[in-house]
Symmetry: C2
Subunit: 228 residues, 2 copies
Amino acid sequence: MLDTQSIDIVRTQSLTSLVQREVERLILTGELAPGERINEQHLAARLRVSRGPVREALRGLEKARLVEARVNRGVYVREISVEQALEISEMRGLITGFACARLAAASTAEQRAQLAQLIDAMARAIEAGDAQGYYERNLAFHDALMDYAGNQRAKEMYDALVKESHLGRRKSLFSQRSMAESNAEHRAILDAIRTGDPEAARIAGEQHIVSGRRRFLDALGLVSATRG
Amino acid sequence: MLDTQSIDIVRTQSLTSLVQREVERLILTGELAPGERINEQHLAARLRVSRGPVREALRGLEKARLVEARVNRGVYVREISVEQALEISEMRGLITGFACARLAAASTAEQRAQLAQLIDAMARAIEAGDAQGYYERNLAFHDALMDYAGNQRAKEMYDALVKESHLGRRKSLFSQRSMAESNAEHRAILDAIRTGDPEAARIAGEQHIVSGRRRFLDALGLVSATRG
DNA sequence: ATGCTGTAAACTGTCAACAGTTTGAGTTTC
DNA sequence: GAAACTCAAACTGTTGACAGTTTACAGCAT
């Protein structure tokens, strides 16, 4: 049963939620690959729990769109098509644009300073060639945007979309140039927010996600599905 | 075990999905009221299944934000605060605006004709004082908007938000005047789509949801949380 | 060799039972 | 009379077992 420390957690969290988090981790880190079948018995044995909590957890992940259940055939890590990845990206852009517009209409000096600080940290990470550092701060930047926008629901939807988008992302290593481009867009977003122009901020936010998708496709060596 | 007809369904659908659909229905129709506790045993007995499928179904509904699980205390039909209802409404507006913009950029004559037909049907329902008929066609109109926009993900997010919003809606009977106002906005949306102006369509779509919220609050006799 | 068929293993869907927690009524104590 | 305590009933969380389906493989026919 896991270890002693975990047992205390079991008291306040259900096994289901623990399993759910673990399987989510396995999927997001790629240890469980898209298309792969998830064997309930093996998973249960590995996590030292019975199949009940495992099945419940998988049902939750199904609604979160991370896995897909086929009747009498088990559940599979979801595979997303290019088309679906584009749709997800579009929705991320929509919500990001919303958040940016919100911040342009109402944000505190402290919030703007915090965003500026993250952008500077990203710039330093790019210079240092620290892709991992950039990646983490980029996440923090987008998290901050959603937090400050003040719509909890928007943030949760955004988070869910980001998790789902990991299903389509094979490798997320970007070139220094890509990172620099991306960070320039971060600055553009912050500028628009500072100007207090919601419409410009919205466009900057949406554009950032669109450009991110293009950079990603470029990195894969694919011809972009969108023009340009 | 239900009846013979149902058994055939069981073959292709899991009991879990059947339970999930039934509980969802109970919640959306108000038979299970927000805040109400859902007793697993009673529910299982009532549906003639064991607790396993019931628990799985509830876990799915939890992720869909229709119920809330408290550890060792069971699951409750979710209650949403006014604040949360506003957030949901905002997201509905955002997605509706997106869909309208999309249609302004690209829609077929047939699609526009279909929307026009639904608007006319709503107008007739209003004249006839047929609130139920209006309600259904209104749903159909918004469904059509999302369908035609061509982003499946957007439609699903929208549908989830609509379901969730039912948790906050006690009664959805509107006055003839409200319905007329609402339908005028439908026409405004269609006009903007016909003009081919995405930005105008987006604003019309967003505005429709915002106005809908205001009409709802007015109907409750509350002071609107938003200005105006 | 290749394709088909039948059978056994593996696995999912479902159920019933057990263990631990919460709840509430009844009792006791101050 | 009110608060605290006790204990049993009710309920949730979890488990192990059973039933039916799917899958894979061996054997057989072509």
